[in-house]
Amino acid sequence: MTDTLTVKSTRRHRKLHPIAVRTMHWINAVSMIMLIGSGWKIYNDEVLFGWLHFPDWMTFGHWAQHGLQIHFAAMWLLFINGLCYVFYGFYTGRFRHKLLPIRPSEIAADVRDALRFKLAHDDITHYNAVQKTLYVGIMLVIVVQVLSGLAIWKPVQFQELTALFGGFQGGRLAHFIGMAAIVGFLVIHVALALLVPKTIGAMIAGGPDVPDEIGPAPHPAPAE
């Protein structure tokens, strides 16, 4: 009796994706799609590239003002949800546990395997080096995207930030490139999820039970 209890308390299990992660993932997905679709509407009013207009059917909002309204509403959803996610990732140690370390030799090996269609994905509880790189990369892209957005929203109040992006038009270009990177990530992310459908189930229902290795970072051991 006593032994069983002890074992249980020291080896707790939990879902691969805790409810907090799943909630934040889908809020992020919704806000990102709203931002991209409305951003394309805003872009169409003054294009950066003469050859690129987004077809109306793939933009959000009837007129320009509706695109702007959606964009400046969804930005709060993305921003607040993103803050919670970053806080959660650092506080619980999920970032450290799931995304680190990233070793260049492993990336090279994984890319090689992936191109030969030999990359193992039986174990969805473990991210390979390419996944880790993409997830860390997309987080950094989103942080820069928020900054370039601020730079073009407030080019007087945050003029130092705007100057960092090379001025107002530089900021617009950076915001466009950030969008392109996010859309590129989305295409790969969704395609791979469809190839391994149990990952989608895991992001909805939580996935398999895993040992509770993550949690608040342990206090450093006292120096010997």
């Binding site: 009837h62 509706h66 309204q69 959606i70 709060w76 407030k154 007087v156 109040q157 003029q159 107002f168």
Partner: protein, 261 residues
Amino acid sequence: MASPSRSIFRPKGGIDQSPLDDGRKLVADINRRNLLRGTVSLGALTMLTGCTVSDTDSVQTVLRAVSDFNDGVQALLFDPKKLAPTYSADQVVKPPRFNAYYEIEEVKPVDGATWKLELAGLIDNKSPWTAAQIYTLPEQEIIVRHICVEGWDYIGQWSGPSLSDFLKRIGADTRAKYISFKCADGYTETLDMATALHPQTILATKYAREPITDPFGFPLRLRTSTKLGFKNAKWITAMEVTNTFIPTFWSKQGFNWFAGL
């Protein structure tokens, strides 16, 4: 003579009651089913593309509430002492870029000889100003970037009396919340007082040191360095200092009112 507090925005000869009658049907229509439908359509916003969902009444209510919230956030972010970057005269684009709610060919020039600037609201001396009188005031020049909500920009060189000096000269109550403008083409614009008093907000009469030409607001227009282009009303005919918010040409159509840079 009209009472001194009479708003220039209030129609002469009473208020038209017909919008109230039109609205009566809408008010009667508000029921649970419509509210539910509104909520569902907001959710569907993420699933549908190229759609008209965003301009249905219920979704507009939500989006405009967020836009109002963003007005407040922008007012907090606005630093009344922070100056916009300025540029040198050789970077100035001549002529400036035209923009209005109609094409440049449709501009109806204002006759400077008969033009008057009317004043209303919380102002001690409401005598109208002629163009000749305005030209006698000390001028301030700003070379600043004009940024349009659409995404384009150019550097312009504007000069004319400082708005904050002008407000002091006419005895305006600068503790009031807003200053509203009426324009010869029917355009309306409202500025928050903090922006009106900003050191780079002027009543422009000249561009590149020449009198402003017809398409760009002759004889008098607003030029502020801390707002999007559309906030800079052209062909101003009347100005009202008030604590009552008067919706503007573009804010009525769903554009963000504060529109600060």
